[in-house]
């Protein structure tokens, strides 16, 4: 079943890419600074959060700017992918009601659009890395794996949200609140070690915490990702993806009539 579906998706790869790239272009089509808005957004966020948290909260972390920026970029990807994923079905009524292709293509392509935007953003991060002369190490080979896990989490959530949003329109408002809370509940601004052992355990239930920590370890601090973190994030990502697909498959047959 799953294998067959993957083959079908492979046959539709051209469509997935065309839709994703089209959305990406569309986003910047009518703005003067074009793609550079993408770079500006995380930079502005970085400046504000850096000023507040390095002075006010007195957080002592090596390469705090990079620590913060990487967290922001990774979280932004999840936030953007799921927010766009929410409307993947509802936002394209004619593609759902007038033609047939596997509907998850719409969710997949919206996640890829978000990925394209994030790749662009990460140019800022690369520039920072160079400016701070952060040493690189062979541990970077973990990075693709971490990013794949992040993508799977985003895709699983997008699938479930896209399907639910067709039937319950306030899912989008609820999700906005969840993302807002998640930004502060995930160790993006602070290292999880500022908390006591008990509290840490609760924070580390969040798979995004593990993904962001693993990314920081390997990219900024030249240490291998913790095997426990990777394993936990991997299992969580696969579970989220499976649940997302199950929710999507449950609602999918009624998309066309419910919209």
């Amino acid at each position: 079943m799953a294998f067959e579906h993957l083959r079908t998706l492979y046959d539709y790869r051209n469509l997935i890419w065309t839709l994703a790239w089209g959305d990406f272009k569309q986003r910047y089509k009518n703005s003067v600074l074009g793609y550079f808005w993408s770079l500006l957004e995380p930079l502005l966020m970085l400046v504000v959060l850096y000023v507040v948290f390095s002075n006010l909260m007195r957080i002592q972390v090596e390469y705090y700017q990079l620590f913060l920026l990487l967290g922001i970029i990774l979280w932004n990807f999840l936030s953007r992918a799921t927010s766009m994923g929410l409307n993947a079905i509802l936002g394209k009524p004619s593609m759902v009601q007038k033609i047939y292709f596997p509907r998850d293509i719409l969710a997949i392509s919206s996640c890829i659009t978000a990925l394209l935007m994030s790749i662009f953003e990460s140019l800022v991060f690369v520039a920072f890395m160079a400016a701070f002369r952060v040493p690189l190490s062979a541990n970077l080979i973990y990075v693709p794996l971490v990013l794949v896990l992040l993508f799977l989490v985003a895709l699983g959530l997008s699938l479930a949200l896209a399907a639910l949003n067709v039937f319950y329109r306030d899912v989008q408002f609820i999700w906005a609140v969840v993302l807002q809370a998640g930004f502060f509940a995930t160790p993006i601004l602070y290292p999880v070690t500022i908390f006591g052992k008990e509290l840490q355990r609760i924070f580390l239930l969040n798979p995004m915490a593990h993904i962001i920590m693993a990314a920081r370890d390997t990219i900024i601090y030249s240490t291998p990702a913790a095997a426990g973190s990777l394993l936990y994030a991997g299992v969580a990502a696969v579970l989220i993806l499976l649940i997302g697909y199950a929710v999507f498959a449950h609602y999918e047959p009624r998309f066309a009539e419910e919209m």
Partner: protein, 392 residues
């Protein structure tokens, strides 16, 4: 060999009395039983389409035609029954799916062609051809939002027909556009048919259905009424409806005549001898005028006059002009006017019926009190058919 098999397909839409579209409503709604009406859009539809065949689907608005197409296309799932499609299927339910006004003509061609299942290489090869066919070569890099709607339709159509379907589903896409565009559509349809593409064609245009479709399925309120040779089914559709009650003349009896003879009704009969108010162009028709004479009336003259819907007087005749003399009438009776071939092409026509004396004194006169519809069977334009042939 059949390429589409539809077996006992039913589709029921649930229409909730209060639509729960928010989570809050869904949660509070759990306590109360869901209150909804069901609307059967399709009931027990069974048919199959042979390879290379062209099947028409006709029926009134709301009879389930589009729902059936969407089920065939996989867009909706049937509530009951099974559908199996054994060939690559291309739906033309709407032209220009995924068109983006901010993108250029070429960009939109690429996106739309991809959605319609063309490969990258095919698209690269065909972009110029598509633009040429749409007559939009000079607008290659213009944004779609600056196109007129006619240009957009042409662009969409030119792109859509580049697909290489094995089964084609066509909804009313042909209903848009001007005469020239419709002609292009028909040519393409013909080309596909000659190439042996299996086509399922939904249309209100009975003329096109008659010209193209081998067999036709008639739906009425979601039920399969007939599935047979196209001519048979269209006759069934046109003549199957019960004759509508003619609108009673509002005029006062006094303005109608002295009512010594009253016209009590008019019915139209089709070629099968059944009552109808809809007729195929060029079919025979019988107009039966029922009268009731209060006393013995000698030498009455019955007449009719025919008007277009806009009130233009098209034709008039009576028994006297046709040298038919009626000795006398008394009591109830009827008189028939037999039309061998309805010469009108299409539209609604109004009928005036009258009975009067030789000198023109009215017994009864009902102005445009009855009407019937003529359904087109050919493609000639205008109000009337003129028998003619071309020669050179």
């Amino acid at each position: 060999m059949s390429v589409i098999d539809v077996e006992h397909v039913g589709k029921v839409f649930r229409i909730p009395h209060e639509k729960r579209t928010t989570v809050f409503e869904a949660l509070t709604g759990l306590l109360r039983p869901t209150d909804y009406e069901t609307f059967p859009a399709l009931r027990d539809v069974t048919f199959s389409v042979e390879e290379g065949e062209m099947l028409g689907i006709i029926g009134e608005n709301g009879s389930g035609k589009s729902t059936l197409l969407k089920i065939l296309a996989g867009i909706m799932r049937p509530t009951s029954g099974t559908v199996s499609v054994n060939r690559r299927l291309t739906p033309f339910l709407e032209l220009g799916v995924g068109f983006n006004p901010d993108f250029t003509a070429v960009e939109n061609i690429r996106t739309y062609a991809t959605i319609m299942g063309l490969s990258k290489r095919e698209i690269n090869d065909k972009v110029d051809e598509i633009l040429a066919f749409a007559g939009l070569e000079t607008f290659r890099d213009a944004k779609l939002k600056n196109f007129s709607s006619g240009m957009q339709v042409r662009l969409a159509f030119s792109t859509a027909i580049q697909t290489d379907p094995e089964i084609l589903l066509m909804d009313e896409v042909l209903a848009v556009g001007d005469m020239e565009f419709q002609q292009k559509c028909m040519d393409v349809l013909n080309r596909y048919r000659n190439e042996g593409v299996t086509i399922v064609f939904v249309s209100h245009d009975l003329g096109s259905v008659r010209r193209f479709c081998d067999r036709t399925l008639l739906l009425n309120h979601g039920e399969q009424v007939a599935l047979d040779e196209t001519d048979v089914v269209i006759d069934r559709y046109v003549y199957g409806k019960m004759a509508e009650e003619p609108v009673a003349p509002a005029a006062e009896a006094a303005s109608r005549g002295n009512m010594k003879v009253e016209i009590t009704g008019v019915t139209f009969f089709n070629k099968f001898g059944a009552e109808s108010t809809r007729f195929n162009a060029f079919d025979p028709m019988t107009v039966r005028i029922f009268y009731s004479a209060r006393e013995r009336i000698a030498g009455p003259v019955f007449g009719i006059a025919l008007y277009s819907e806009r009130g233009e007087h098209l034709y008039g005749t009576n028994t006297e002009l046709k040298d038919v003399s009626i000795g006398y009438i008394s009591g109830e009776g009827h008189i028939d006017l037999r039309i061998d071939r309805i010469p009108m092409l299409a539209g609604r026509f109004l009928l005036t019926v009258a009975v009067h004396t030789h000198s023109g004194e009215r017994y009864d006169w009902q102005d445009k009190a009855y009407s019937f519809d003529v359904i087109p069977t050919g493609r000639d334009a205008g109000l009337f058919d003129i028998p003619c042939i071309w020669r050179r």
